[in-house]
Symmetry: D2
């Protein structure tokens, strides 16, 4: 089957997330970049698109032009990735979904839960895909955790301990640097900074692995550098709907932590431990047994984890491969649709607008709880 046609909005030259998407979408040969509005500067965007092999008539100056130009083409885009600044995600996603495109939106899906509800509603009515890039859920061993939990290997899940802590906003001298400052300004960033930006990945991962949705939470927010209005450190206790308690710490002032995304899952029958900085090993301790090291690529892993692996055991596959698994899922679903068949259930684990909605609700609830000195708030 020929390659799927892929469009991209944002992610231009110098963007951090753009290359990750292009590497990931291209990795398995499923997608061909066919159209793009890649930059806030129209000319730069067009020229960069050309450099990436997009034909001139599909290299656009902005997303509105792209929508206009693409919506009536017969060689229609199979998927549009949105990697623009956060505040524009809702408007662009909505426009493309309403025009009948499938969308992969960078997180956050929207700036409010209400907007996210709207997106979910649109996708429910149209049947179109709106995926959200909680890309770390694509790691093979994260999928292994989910598969083990789903298979009952841990029994009832009592507790999840999740962390996403880094130290890149710890320098008080840098607090006024515009690159950092906007993140802690409610006018630009909304009701939450580090939880909405970093911790939300750990939140999604906890729900994803537990196979549950959040029910209520209690949050403590702290602003520890200068006069920041939004939190740069937060501790959140979350009760999931299946009864699992989740304790989540997120921080931007944890000097010495690089990308401290970790997950520990404790069930009746055993415990799991995984960290993003060494994503190739998962530690599994059966109750009253010895800790075992599950290596990515090991033949005994679940079919979900095996499907998500590309490289031989013992090599670091890396983060781009995790993102690529989201694209791989979408490709399978899109190709199945074209072929008029049902996609494999294995391809259905990608995060959707519903996940985006849960995240926005959790962020709003956490901000509310934090203001109420940790009162429990329903999600």
């Amino acid at each position: 089957m020929s390659r799927l046609l892929w469009g991209m909005i944002g992610g231009g030259e110098g963007s951090q997330i753009g290359p990750a998407h292009r590497i990931s979408a291209g990795m398995d040969g499923h997608f061909q970049l066919a159209a793009g509005a890649l930059d806030i500067d129209p000319e730069r965007g067009k020229s960069f698109a050309a450099q990436l092999g997009v034909s001139p008539d599909r290299a656009y100056g902005n997303w509105q032009e792209m929508l206009e130009g693409e919506k009536s083409r017969s060689d229609r885009l199979d998927l549009v990735t949105i990697a623009t600044p956060n505040a524009t995600h809702y408007e662009i996603s909505r426009a493309f979904l309403e025009a009948g495109f499938n969308v992969l939106c960078e997180k956050p899906l929207t700036m409010t839960a209400e907007e996210a509800e709207h997106i979910v509603e649109i996708t429910r009515q149209s049947g179109k895909i709106c995926a959200v890039n909680y890309g770390y859920s694509g790691y093979p061993l994260v999928r292994q955790m989910r598969a083990m939990v789903a298979a009952g290997e841990l029994g009832n899940i009592r507790l999840i301990k999740a962390e996403f802590a880094h130290g890149f906003h710890a320098d008080a001298e840098e607090a006024d640097n515009p690159r950092v400052r906007w993140r802690y300004d409610p006018a630009q960033a909304g009701t939450s900074a580090v939880f909405a930006d970093a911790g939300i990945h750990a939140f999604h991962m906890a729900c994803f692995v537990a196979g549950q949705v959040p029910a209520e939470l209690s949050a403590d927010f702290a602003s520890l550098v200068g006069d920041r209005q939004l939190e740069d450190d937060a501790m959140i206790n979350i009760r999931l709907d299946g009864g699992t308690l989740c304790r989540l710490w997120t921080s931007a002032i944890a000097v010495g932590r690089m990308h401290g995304l970790t997950l520990q899952v404790f069930g009746e029958k055993g415990g799991l431990s995984w960290e993003q900085q060494h994503p190739e090993q998962l530690y599994w301790t059966p109750l009253n047994g010895r800790t075992q090291v599950l290596e990515r690529g090991d033949a005994t892993l679940s079919e979900q984890a095996t499907r998500a692996s590309r490289i031989a055991i013992g090599h670091a596959e890396g983060m781009p491969v995790a993102f690529a698994n989201i694209y791989h899922d979408l490709a399978e679903v899109l190709k199945a649709e074209k072929a008029g068949v049902a996609p494999s259930h294995l391809a259905l684990d990608y995060p959707t607008a519903v996940d985006g909605l849960h995240s926005m609700k959790a962020i709003e609830a956490a901000a509310k709880s934090a203001k109420a000195r940790g009162a429990w708030v329903a999600i």
Copy 2:
């Protein structure tokens, strides 16, 4: 100078903590075990004391006999260690302190904050020592952290992340085992289980390293196994009096964690990370700099850390050496007193009844906060 005379109550044959005290007290040759009431069974206690080299007239059947026999001797005990069941600590410590002995009490010092207040009051009046065995504070690199913080190397301390999590009470089948059950029974264990038992070490260590005392806290307690009345997992946010925020997780159901006592300290100028399972390395990241590995025994460490090291760099010194440093401090203080001189300030870092009091207050505040669904409670 000859060896100090040492007495021991509890810690008989088969006790877990007894050997640790004997190894630690004996390590530097400061103390000679001269008297003991080692066992709830008088005969077993006397026979075990003899085996340990105690002369028959100082091997007692219980602590009351020991107090009676020892209080008027001219070759008076320099220090009495109390390693009996928790509920007896207060009564025995009080009796020996009132009789003019110096005491090293296993934690918890008492069962209530009120009792701990009383002990503090007694020691204030008598001038006698009442140390409490928060033994992990004796690790050389824990003292290094304290020294670095005190010297201002981290600047103002913004956040401390502390953990003490294990998985030894995770087995629901074992929940009714008497060896486990009493810990979660309020009648026997008081108002808190895992925080009072395990988490309190992390709490003490955070205060010790920060050089601050606790001001207020908010706690979430969870009972995750069977119908336990007390918590087997807790998350506590603590504000210290110097402004540092402390986030503390403790658990007894974390399958796969052996002895997960860890401390991360984040200041204006850098971050520190240490874990008890690998106590010989401390990770120090100066703001905007590279992480450095501080090895125990390294010549560049603080005088506090150097004084607390006995073995060449690169070897594991181990936990008994940490406890031994508490004994070493006490020996220096006691010997200085005998010699009529002031002890080195380096010997004054051992935990005292005041630490025991702070701990009891924190436990009571945490239990109260947990009942009030996480309301902040002053300590």
Copy 3:
């Protein structure tokens, strides 16, 4: 500039190395797969090529057809990757080089040093590129090591300790499995098994980091499973031409080692330590100083390491990115040539036929030394 045209021989469906090449070549958008003879089965190869987007007229049944079809085209291939069985590398590389193509050959370049000499000679005369895929040299932190050594940060390099040990051929029950057996059969594998297959990567990396070429060696080969004729474990001492001593262990029977490719470099002024299983950290200990952790992506790294990084600090970039750096180098060189300018010196670190030649000489010398019970043999 438009994409370079890329051809591939071997690496068909189910091949282990094929996807790694396609992921890596595609990662930066430099190369477009334009032609291929991908499979020993002509029809499967053509159909797989079509699936990968190759146009039918450039999907070939074998390499001879491909050479015939491609050599006179005006839209000539910029680079041909050879990923066929080892024994065919020489013949195919030679044919394409002689027809004026640039080649990236999987290692080993040839089966004998004599053949490798021939390839080197051809490239000297034609000026065409013959790169050899010692792909681990593309890791950013391996390039950091090379840059630090070249800059004199370690002073004179005294010793390199290199390892490549795995346990995938340890099962005696599997020794007769054809998938394993051929590797230890001199008729198919030549004079060396595990050194030629795995250890040679560590060998190349040592030379690459030291910036030296091998002078002499002494080898001990062992066949530890069943009646294997070739070695499954080897220890080799190598003297490099700049005086550095290199100690290299390689094994295929080291059960529990996944992909144990490690390098430790000890110089007058400090030591470095790196391991492929955790490629994102490099440990640097200045003489008499503290060990520092160099994170991939850290702003203080060399320009060589920085150029080779694509993903933000704290994420695992993974092995495909290492290979991609080889392709990236080649793309820069090829594009510079097209533009009639000199390529950046930073692009010239990819391994070439000269490295392939040194490897073949080392393999032959090691086999000779091993037969002579460890006698030193000039390379």
Copy 4:
């Protein structure tokens, strides 16, 4: 039973090894320091002995006086530890053994194999104990490795990979410092420096775990700093008498390595990996299975490992506990002898003069092989 009487020669104030012996001998309360000739300076030695609780009549100025004073006492010493400079070990051990004392000698037992043969001969005739302090063999998990090998859990042992590498003699500026220089001076240190000093521990451990004795070896010695006459780095291949191949690297110039004593054991049925810097974990990978983490103190360990543990699981026991296990073995044997019963077989794993002899033979063979450019030499 009362405590055993213990004498010590050497290990005075400021000595590195002295405290380790006293901590270890005292740890379990088996031994009471009853006599000593602790220092080359008679007065300092006597005064330090008094400080350690030795009665004045048993505090001697030198070992000859001690031998004279002790040999006819009725309260005879049960064990004499020799911790003097290496060159004196033979003379002192011999004298005390011939006078009917049991001896624990620091390694090396002697300076030549011939001397070691003599000591072995004396112990054979007298039946007295001559233990040699290869103290790392006392680690519980080292004993676990030995027990697993002896029980056949790994099947036939194919290969042992052993290392003892540090960087403490890497500074060329320090090479002439007398504290370092003597170690590389043949007149003072004999035929080998780093192998005899450090590597020999790894050698002993390999033999101990394999349950085999050395048969032949091939060595490469290198002097990498200044004009040292003896080796500061060595690679040795050893064939044990049971067919196991052992590859051993030892170095004193490995900057960044603290105390790199590691052992990997590869058998037909699985592999083991252990390192002294983290002695509480042993990694066990059954063939075709997942790696398991064996924690020291785990209830499933062998009786040998369990007997050698004192502290609860999850704590670092440390190196002094390893040495203490040697003393514990000796105490059991000595007490059994006094009681006229056979000691437990579990107490018989301490290293003896025969191990000391194998070590001296290996050192001489390695020096000979290294001079012959790696020729294999029988041991």
